[in-house]
């Protein structure tokens, strides 16, 4: 398919790798955070760590939407799912995320009516088909996913479907990046910004990283050549002493994003004063709730929720993984008490989680000495 195959060319990848080698000084260390879990997955899937110079280290950011949901919100979801009148619709990976009371999958095994959907529009269709039930959609994700929820809410209102509601856990990308940049002692040289979030937000949302924190940012796509080219753009900025937001993913991302999607979000959702992130704690104005005009479709208005804050398991070091302070294998339970089959922390649940990517692609103890180029 156009824009896919040409961005997976091994020949160009090797050529880019040679180019990258000339953009670093021997012995220097460059830490680049790839913010998005999709990038983390692509880096491991395509073996890109072995194509960039050994001086470049990828640090895995907080951009996996599953990984950042705190246990208390999972418990709230389970409480909703266990209500006898509720059909609880969720994306697949959220079914395995452990809360203090187990997971949605375990709640389903106990008899809760939990259904996996691919789109919030599928949940709305469930509501149309089951007018005698209350269908609740577990909305998670960044600005990439939130517009789908917004479209669904607008359709629910237009059709006056009143047995549908949304348990909103959408989050925004900029506040956690600021929180990470404020972390004492953290050393990051640059960021690869998420391409698909940026199709909605545009590129200006990252300006503060360059202007306030003097770090280069490159918005990039998800194919291997996208990421390698973006690493080159980062290295050139560093080499030339520049700090700016550059857009590698120009075929999909415009500077002002998608105005129609932003308008749908503005109509249906509002920023929360604070939202808790797994591993990062409460971050001001980082989460979204439904707008007052959509209270009739807001599960938090329609149902009573426990709303308890639950601390992460002590053994789990997702918090340090999510801010890039440690690599997944450095976690004390990685691959032992915590595996993709039985995840203890959320970074092991989603395939976009840094721990699951490490585990799945055999990054355990792999030496960096041999470069294939």
């Amino acid at each position: 398919m156009k824009y896919l195959t040409e961005f997976r060319s091994g020949e160009y990848a090797r050529s880019l790798a040679h180019e990258l080698a000339g953009l670093v000084e021997p012995g220097e260390q460059v830490k680049i955070m790839e913010v998005c879990g999709g990038h983390t997955h692509a880096i491991y899937r395509h073996g890109l760590e072995d194509l960039v110079p050994t001086e470049v280290e990828f640090v895995h950011g907080p951009g996996c939407p599953v990984c950042v949901i705190p246990m208390g919100r999972v418990d709230d979801a389970i409480a909703l799912a266990e209500r006898p009148e509720v059909v609880f619709a969720t994306f697949g990976d959220m079914m395995r995320v452990p809360g203090a009371r187990g997971s949605l999958l375990e709640a389903k095994a106990r008899g809760a009516d939990v259904r996996m959907v691919y789109s919030p529009l599928d949940a709305l269709e469930l509501a149309r088909r089951h007018p005698d039930r209350e269908v609740v959609f577990f909305a998670i994700g960044f600005e990439t996913t939130a517009p789908a929820t917004a479209v669904t809410l607008l359709r629910a209102r237009a059709e006056q479907i009143d047995n549908f509601s949304v348990f909103c856990n959408h989050v925004t990308i900029a506040p956690p990046l600021r929180a990470i940049l404020e972390t004492p002692g953290l050393r990051l040289d640059a960021f690869l910004a998420p391409g698909h979030v940026s199709t909605v937000t545009g590129t200006r949302v990252y300006d503060f990283i360059a202007s306030d924190y003097a770090r280069p940012v490159v918005v990039t796509g998800f194919e291997p050549l996208d990421i390698l080219q973006a690493v080159g753009m980062v290295l050139r900025q560093l080499r030339e002493g520049r700090c700016m937001v550059e857009n590698q993913y120009t075929r999909a991302v415009r500077d002002d994003g998608n105005p129609q999607a932003l308008a749908a979000l503005a109509e249906t959702m509002r920023l929360r004063e604070s939202f808790e992130w797994r591993g990062l704690g409460p971050i001001p104005f980082s989460g979204l709730r439904l707008a007052p005009a959509f209270a009739a479709w807001d599960a938090e208005h329609r149902f009573e929720l426990p709303g308890a804050r639950v601390a992460d398991p002590q053994a789990c070091q997702c918090a340090e993984v999510l801010v890039g302070a440690i690599k997944p294998p450095e976690c004390r339970v990685f691959g032992t008490a915590c595996t993709p089959e039985r995840p203890l922390g959320t970074c092991m649940v989603s395939s976009e989680g840094a721990c699951a990517a490490y585990y799945s692609y055999g990054r355990l103890g792999r030496g960096r000495a041999a470069q294939p180029v």
Binding site: G38, G92, D93, I140, T144, V151, N258
Partner: protein, 67 residues
């Protein structure tokens, strides 16, 4: 639910490239690497057959074109 090694297409904040095959009111049928999908097009309308769209969670998010 995703398997190890397979990108999560449901919850992941990733999007899928699809070529528009047909358009009907507020939805389009797109051909992706994984087959045909129906997606809502309110956020990118108007849409024409042959155009490339980035789609996520059943909704088209962006039009893809030569920079």
């Amino acid at each position: 639910m995703s398997s190890p090694g397979v990108p999560c297409l449901t919850c992941a904040d990733a999007a899928t490239l699809g070529s528009v095959i047909s358009v009907a009111e507020r939805e389009a049928t797109v051909e992706t690497a994984a087959g045909l999908q129906r997606v809502a097009i309110e956020l990118v309308a108007p849409v024409r057959p042959g155009e490339l769209l980035l789609c996520h969670a059943g909704v088209a998010l962006s039009r893809v074109s030569a920079p």
